[in-house]
């Protein structure tokens, strides 16, 4: 098996319009991910909260880098900050071509404190912290659904 990499990033929503329109666009992002990611052996999770996207993407270096080239040019978001990009031994989202979480926490500001911090430090605390937030929410929702 080729080496696994994990990417964690945060970006600002650039989809304008009402909640329904945003929801439809997010649906289409998820559909693209669920269509494209499996053959590329990519897994991950996406959270949309308080005008921010946070995504974890895991998989082989080549697939991940190619997909990231598409994602970073997507006009539906901007000011993308990569918080972590490194090798990892295990997938955290084994079962998700792209899990979407956090809808139940609409009212909460999940990572506002991260967004406000200026000068993110790649691979520093923020990357780890954001990764943990996303993983915890995913775990929670998984168990609740079960």
């Amino acid at each position: 098996m080729s080496t696994l990499y994990r990417l964690v990033y945060l970006s600002k929503n650039r989809i304008s319009g009402g909640a329904a329109h945003i929801a439809a666009e997010v649906q289409s992002i998820l559909a693209a991910a669920q269509r494209n990611n499996p053959p590329l052996e990519l897994t991950g999770a996406l959270i949309f909260n308080a005008g921010m996207f946070a995504q974890v993407l895991e998989g082989p270096c080549g697939s991940l880098e190619d997909t990231f080239e598409k994602i970073q040019q997507d006009p539906r978001h901007g000011d993308l900050e990569v918080l972590a990009y490194h090798q990892t031994t295990e997938r955290a989202f084994q079962h998700w071509s792209m899990g979407y979480f956090g809808q139940s926490r609409e009212g909460q500001d999940l990572f506002g404190h991260l967004a406000k911090a200026t000068g993110f430090n790649t691979d520093g605390l923020e990357g780890t912290r954001l990764f943990e937030i996303i993983r915890d929410i995913a775990l929670e929702e998984e168990t609740r659904a079960a």
Partner: protein, 552 residues
Amino acid sequence: MAPRTAPAETMRYLHELSPQRRQAVADLALDTFLEMGRAAAIVGANGELRLVNDAFTELFGGVEDLTARLAKINADVAVSGGRLIHEVMLPDGRTVGLEVTLLEQGCLITGFDISRRQQRRAREAQLARTDDLTQLGNRLLFQEQLAERLAEPGHAYPPALLTIDLGRFKALNETLGRKTGDALLRLVAKRICSALADHDVVARLEGDKFAVLQLGQPQPQAAAALAARLIDLLGRAYLVDGQLINISACAGIVVVTPDMIDVEQVMSSADLALSRAKSDGQGSYRFFETAMDEKMRSCRKLEIDLRRALSLREFSLVYQPQVNLRSSAVSGFEALLRWQCPTRGAVSPLDFIPLAEQTGVITSIGEWVLRTACREAASWPNDHSIAVNVSGVQFAHPNLVKVVMSALAESGLAPQRLELEITESVMLDDRGQSLTVLNNLRSLGVRMALDDFGTGYSSLGYLRRFSFDKIKIDQSFVRGTANDPAGQAIVRAISSLGQSLGMKTVAEGVETREQFDRVVADGCTDVQGYLISRPLPSGQIASFLDERAPRP
């Protein structure tokens, strides 16, 4: 079948042959015509086919308006001296090479399919215009396309040329390796393409430098928008070979005006705008303005004058005395450069040294200064030290130590009398290179002074890494008035630092008695400035020293 052989000489004397023999030769000729691989036809004046071979039928079989085409060829050959070589494109895309010979009635056409050759040529031409690494166009393609646009008469919208380059790419390439650098350039190329309209022209000119020719858009708005978009796109994070890379880009823009006709001129205007953008900071873009051109021209002119000045002996040196405060005796002189230009008058070093450094002319000027100062100082009556400024560019030049050795040898000046003044910027290179050079110079016996101390980074680390003989305190601190306690505190601090490290401290630019008294109180060991003396030509040094000597 007719005999296949006919001696060559018989052809020329065809009319002398016997009727049978003639027939045989004619049969042979006809046979050859019909069966040869080349398409051949004899065509009547109106384009009607008189005689064709199979190859001709095969080649032109599908062409609908053949008769009309042939009539045209027939007319063409008649007016072009009886022979014509011609390439025609058939409706199905094949290209045919034709050779046409005028006959008494009509013409003979032979030809064959040259599509493959044509394709190969086209492929080669394209290859020669493609950048291998990114598959974009290369400089040749770009220049040709630009030349074409410049030659075309006025468009509704003028073309705009953008040149783009990446900040820190070279350093990145060195640290991450060529493979990663190349992969990054490929991504950059793709991102640039994603922002362009179909008919825009894009190329990689060299290294990390790209160019775009934007066509058919209202200017300058479209070019500004494109530059902003490109800077945004290229400045986004890259993931390459398992690494996160952040770089930024700058762009220079020229909107082509009708008076711009020269490709080189337009490209260099874009470069000029690009270098302006770079000096504005990473992530910026700039439009070319005529004023930039004028500024550049005047810089070029100054550069030419500078290069000439050396051989025309327009430079001279003057020497400013330094006085030791304890003994009140002259301790040495600093060599200062003067340029008397016949057209400009006296030019201040402040106005030409930066350009001399940028263009590298400083190396030869600096060498001249060094040799001249050593030679002139060697003729003075006493053993005073002679301080010579060495710029950062000179210091980085691998020849410096050799030049110093040869200047000393030529002049016979004792190495201990020569003092080289360097600024802190020299110490900023951190590969330890400068430390090696400093130690090499010291091993010659030459002394070293740190110039303009206090103005730059003033890192105490430098003083620790190399023990200079002298620290020169910048005049901006010395000239501060009595109510500039900070300046005074700095002078005092540097003096006591010098004292503890065993380095002399020279206060520069002392002009008034008040400043003098203050630097004395602050503990400097030496002073230099107009109060002591203005800089003197070498010829006046002896009498100056004589006047100052204590009278018996």
